[in-house]
Symmetry: C2
Subunit: 349 residues, 2 copies
């Protein structure tokens, strides 16, 4: 019994074997005599041997990648959807850039694949990934719920980069819309706005399980000095409906995705930014300069790659027993559609 914890080498010496044989025996390699293996395992149990997990991870990676420069490849899978708004393309690109960067730092490469409609069939994707030896899949957001249940998930680890995926139910990475909207409203209040209004397309809120609307109402409910303006939630954006709502409830700041609303407000006599304001709920989706939330697609992509690589390093494939959602708050971004105040911090925690 030595003072320090048993290692492979001390065990090997004690047994009169080489460290290699002990290592192989403990991991059940077929290269060692079953009798020897049992003897080693018994001795390891008795000595209380516990393998160093870090060294294990390091060495297997090291040995595997001998010579070759990169250690692994991830697939970024995009669903080609004809109805998807064009603006989403930039968001997708940023997601991929973030994933590529982080993956690169961790020794992985990212390759892009397009699936559905104008792209590959799911079967075809499956066989390509299999033959290329790719085991990590990042699924980019789809406007309608994507279906990749036909992939042979016993061989893949996957991450979805949006709130919810049911087919299959994978881990996901997403912006924290609820928290971000609360923080944005708080900021607007500190800038002196008292009647914020929310302007959304129904589908936009539905696919987030109404998180935008819920955060908006929760804020109104818990801030006595805020005058309640009912959210305007429409099936399709029309100027007419917006103008009616705006004139009736007279919000002093509007939060929404559709930047054309800035013009509609002006047409109603709003003075931006002196007396009224507009906040875009996803700045990455518009080119028009305005204040709003940066949903940080790069950070999301990076975190997605990180989670995926962690799974691969644990050698975990398949559909998780309990899928989790990892969220990151949006970053506040100033712009010309709001009056300036003494609010300083760039982060919206």
């Amino acid at each position: 019994m030595s003072a320090s914890a048993p290692t492979l080498r001390s065990l090997a010496k004690q047994l009169g074997l080489s460290r290699t044989t002990v290592s192989d025996a403990l991991r059940g390699s077929p290269r060692v005599d079953p009798k020897t293996a049992e003897r080693v395992q018994k001795a390891a149990r008795e000595a209380g041997y516990r393998r160093n997990p870090l060294a294990g991870a390091l060495m297997s990676e090291l040995r595997r990648s001998r010579g070759t420069a990169f250690r692994g490849v991830l697939a970024a899978v995009d669903f080609t959807e004809p109805e998807r708004p064009d603006a989403a393309a930039r968001f997708h690109r940023e997601l991929v850039v973030g994933a590529e960067t982080r993956a690169g730092e961790l020794g992985f490469k990212v390759e892009k694949f397009a699936v559905g409609h104008a792209g590959l069939s799911v079967q075809r994707l499956d066989s390509i990934l299999q033959s290329r030896g790719i085991h990590g899949v990042i699924l980019l957001p789809a406007w309608d719920e994507p279906d990749l249940s036909n992939l042979d998930w016993t061989r893949f680890a996957g991450i979805y980069t949006d709130y919810i995926i049911e087919r299959p139910a994978l881990h996901s990475v997403c912006s924290d819309h609820y928290r971000s909207l609360l923080a944005a409203l708080q900021r607007l209040a500190s800038l002196g706005y008292r009647q914020p209004g929310l302007f959304l397309q129904r589908h936009q809120d539905e696919r987030l399980q109404f998180r935008w609307g819920a955060a908006f109402r929760a804020f109104q409910e818990n801030q006595p000095e805020i005058r309640a303006v009912p959210p305007l939630i429409v099936d399709a954006y029309t100027k007419e409906a917006f103008v009616r709502w705006f004139k009736k409830h007279q919000p002093d700041v509007v939060l929404g995705h559709h930047t054309a609303a800035i013009d509609w407000m002006a047409d109603c006599g709003a003075e931006i930014p002196e007396r009224h304001g507009f906040v875009c709920l996803n700045k990455n989706m518009t080119t028009r300069p305005c204040a709003g939330l940066d949903l940080q697609p790069r950070t999301l992509g990076a975190r997605g790659a990180e989670l995926l690589i962690a799974q691969l390093q644990r050698n975990e494939t398949g559909i998780p027993e309990w899928p989790s959602t990892t969220t990151i708050p949006a970053r506040w971004s100033d712009g010309p559609t709001l009056r300036t105040g003494n609010a300083g911090h760039a982060r919206t925690p």
Copy 2:
């Protein structure tokens, strides 16, 4: 220029130095001549050297704990709070069990520490963890916002097992209260309940940024066949306030933490489970048998350990640039306080 990625040794050879000097130079050790250090750093940049994070983590552990046993160890840190409800103890225990189990599978051990009030000071904890060579910290939930900003976070990776921690702003793991309540309400609707009521202590909702209340209202708003009952949110539980609310709005099912409400409902003439129902929002906090949400502390603890170990394996310490929150939906659990229906699945997605 070699085919494979540059290593410490290849760099050292190229520069005519030893690997030790190169390593020290790149990490800014005061032991090397500043001129040499600069030369090394320039060469490293040009060669595109990237240090292997796994090897770094392994070796620093190994060297630090020379002789003595290095095994991966995580610290589970609990804040001793006098006002904390007793029921929370069980939740904490389950969290730790989950973390221990998952950590064990990945080759790590978990040790418990109590901080504050009746336990260690933060300074003391810092020095204990340092001298024990522990770099992973799981923070258990505190009723009030915990403060561990005095720990030297350049040497630790941490995970908080509740929604929000600001001091410091770490990654966290938590139940998905918003999604879980929506799913529970959906289930109640499918069982025929039409007037659900929510009964909360204000602090319980505040510390979740009103997610319970927000999900409740979002559901009412988007389900036309549900009759709106205003939530009852109180500073302290009293029978009187509950009875007044219950008689006025006549909910047919009440969702809340406080199981004494079951008796109060009965006193008002409610028939449980034939015509009325009660749903507990955190079954792990009560011993009374009833239907409700299992927030799955074991799964949360397990996922927390997983995320923490992933950080350690990447040799990442410190406060993350963009803290993320990882959420897991609650599991629905049947019980005698609800009438049975034809709803089958155990999971609440």
